[in-house]
């Protein structure tokens, strides 16, 4: 039975960063910001954690730095979108480019070599396990926060009907700003998991499109924390299956493409009527 056990473990290992990123997508979209910069936030989180662990020799400080860096990238998106009227989609694309270039640039500056960093002190097996458990805890906390607190009500309302939020005397732009920071922090943590949890280094392209798979998980999970977590687990299982089927003749590209193809299918409404928050991606102006 160890085969099944291995598969479950591998699924969890592959799903954890997707869960963090998908939760980041959920909180942003529920507040009305379509965050297509998840990939960039994963990248910056992963790189910063390694760079800071390298500089301080302490992976926990690296972890915190990765989370803060992710939050700052989220803040950049939030400020651009809510304060300067920059379109969210365009800003997200820019941030992805900026993050990839920034991390590649940072590699050369900090480690003096392109491609990959040196090995640094990482979080190890207990850290990796802790972060996997943490992903599910984060899903639970986000669920409670979104549906059981005044903050959650304000956040969801900003994504559905920002004018109503404004009428209640709250500026939806601030609500969205906080959501993008929280989302950035979550995605940053997903990046930390990749670089300091699963491995002990950063290499260019290590996020490998997970930020976009997470966007698909958000749609599949119908914009809820539990739903997105479930979808991320499903995509994690697909990634694990890829290892199992490695020598079976099933093209690995097909397996890799499945989450994206599933997202395209979801856009046709094939999976039932999945409705995005009414004001998702719609800029709010006074």
């Amino acid at each position: 039975m160890s085969g099944i056990q291995d598969f479950v473990v591998l699924t969890l290992v592959k799903a954890a960063p997707l869960i963090y990123a998908a939760l980041a997508g959920v909180v942003c979209e529920r507040a009305g910001i379509l965050n297509i910069a998840l990939e960039g936030q994963l990248t910056i989180g992963a790189f910063t954690a390694v760079a800071v662990s390298f500089a301080t020799g302490n992976p926990v400080i690296g972890l915190l730095a990765g989370v803060v860096a992710g939050a700052l990238v989220g803040l950049l998106l939030g400020v651009a979108a809510t304060r300067f009227g920059v379109d969210q989609i365009v800003a997200g694309t820019g941030i992805n480019l900026l993050a990839l270039g920034g991390a590649a640039f940072g590699l050369t500056v900090v480690f003096g070599q392109p491609g990959a960093s040196a090995e640094v002190s990482a979080l190890g097996v207990p850290g990796e396990r802790g972060l996997i458990v943490g992903a599910f805890v984060a899903a639970l906390l986000l669920h409670l926060a979104l549906y059981r607190t005044p903050w959650g009500l304000r956040t969801r309302a900003s994504g559905e009907n920002p004018r109503a939020v404004r009428s209640a005397g709250i500026d939806p732009r601030n609500v969205r700003l906080i959501a993008t920071m929280l989302g950035g922090a979550l995605a940053g943590l997903g990046g930390v998991y990749l670089s300091l949890g699963e491995l002990d280094l950063y290499s260019d392209g290590m996020t490998a499109g997970r930020g976009f798979i997470a966007l698909a998980a958000v749609i599949f999970g119908r914009w809820t924390p539990f739903g997105a977590t479930g979808a991320a687990l499903g995509f994690g299982a697909l990634a694990a299956l890829q290892f199992v089927l490695q020598r079976s003749g099933v093209p690995s590209e097909l397996m890799q493409a499945l989450p994206y193809l599933a997202a395209l299918a979801a856009l046709t409404g094939i999976a039932g009527r999945a409705r995005a928050p009414q004001a998702d991606g719609v800029p709010y102006t006074e």
Binding site: G85, T93, L98, G101, T108, T268
Partner: protein
């Protein structure tokens, strides 16, 4: 104009700060950048090669933006266009007079088909073209890799690429001994045609109407769904044509890494060019300088070339002003028919 200069200056300062951080002399960095891009005939022609590669997807992006549609998928459409041209081209032994137009048309058709997927999802199901094109970018890369390594593998080729195209299928060079080909002229012609379409044709008018005020356009009897579909397909065709010119003009084969992100940089180029086809020509040249100067900057001034994508990303964030997207907000708010 003044705003543009201010943003340009701010970006240059950012780049200078980054160079200092890398322990390089910014003045040397900029000197190396411009020398590498404009220092002589070979450098300038290489810059024009990059300009051409950027111009096609930038026009594609701008075309869709004008209709209120966010084509984030020029990258994938370009890859598919190149893939189709490369796969057919490597197997085609015929006169250049037939082969070259055929390959360019096939590449455009491939890009159009890829763009049309997002178009159908938008027009028929009201699905977000942003999500669709994002996903299609990755699927395009995976599909290309699968096909050229797997079922369409060319004998004797080791890497993820097709065999070389026969010489007769190569685009004619503009300057002998350089990689600059007639693709530049095709791209320039496309820009002028688009300018004419926007300014002088009913279709161009409808397109802009849908982009600027979809609800008013709908009431005026313009079919929004059809416009969305046609726009995405044509936008994809332009990006696909760009991919086909890289294959037939620059690499002479399809390689999975034929684009260092032209389709994404194109978004910055389109915005810098104010979505105006003629100004996009100038913007493509400016970004072409960055692309072709980056390697020289790395070699001569020891500035990592990635500083260029960093600055391009910043440029996109800084330049995406609200006015480009007035129409999109309403377009997305409309329920699918």
């Amino acid at each position: 104009m003044i705003r543009g200069l201010a943003i340009g200056l701010a970006l240059a300062l950012f780049a200078a700060a980054a160079m200092l951080l890398a322990g390089a002399n910014p003045l040397l960095g900029f000197w190396a950048l411009f020398r590498g891009a404009l220092g002589g005939v070979p450098q300038i022609s290489e810059t024009l090669v990059q300009t051409t590669a950027l111009l096609f997807p930038s026009l594609a992006v701008a075309f869709a933006f004008r209709a209120g549609l966010f084509n984030i998928g020029a990258e994938g459409q370009l890859v598919i266009g190149g893939l189709v041209a490369g796969v057919i081209g490597a197997r085609l032994e015929t006169s250049g007079l037939i082969a070259i137009p055929l390959l360019l048309i096939a590449g455009s058709a491939g890009g159009a088909a890829w763009g049309a997927i997002a178009g159908v999802l938008r027009a028929r199901f009201g699905g977000s073209e942003v999500i669709a094109t994002l996903m299609l970018n990755i699927v395009a890369a995976l599909l290309a890799n699968y096909l050229v390594v797997g079922p369409l593998h060319s004998p004797g080729v080791a890497g993820p690429e097709t065999a070389e195209l026969p010489h007769s299928s190569w685009l004619p060079a503009l300057l002998p001994g350089t990689r600059l080909t007639v693709a530049l002229l095709i791209a320039l012609a496309l820009a002028f045609v688009l300018r004419w379409v926007f300014a002088r044709t009913v279709f161009g008018y409808e397109l802009r109407a849908v982009g600027d005020a979809p609800e008013a356009a709908r009431r005026a009897g313009i079919n929004l769904a059809k416009t969305a579909f046609v726009t995405m397909a044509l936008s994809g065709a332009m990006a696909g044509l760009g991919g086909a010119t890289i294959v037939t003009g620059v690499l002479h084969r399809f390689n999975v890494s034929l684009s260092p992100g032209y389709g994404f940089i194109a978004i910055a180029v389109a915005l810098v060019g104010d979505l105006d086809p003629l100004r996009i020509i100038i913007a493509s040249f400016a970004f072409g300088i960055l692309q072709s100067g980056a390697l020289s900057m790395q070699a001569l001034a020891h500035v990592p070339k990635d500083v260029v994508s960093f600055v391009e990303g910043l440029a996109i964030v800084a330049l995406a002003a609200r006015r480009f997207v007035a129409g999109r907000k309403q377009m997305t708010a409309l329920a699918p028919e």
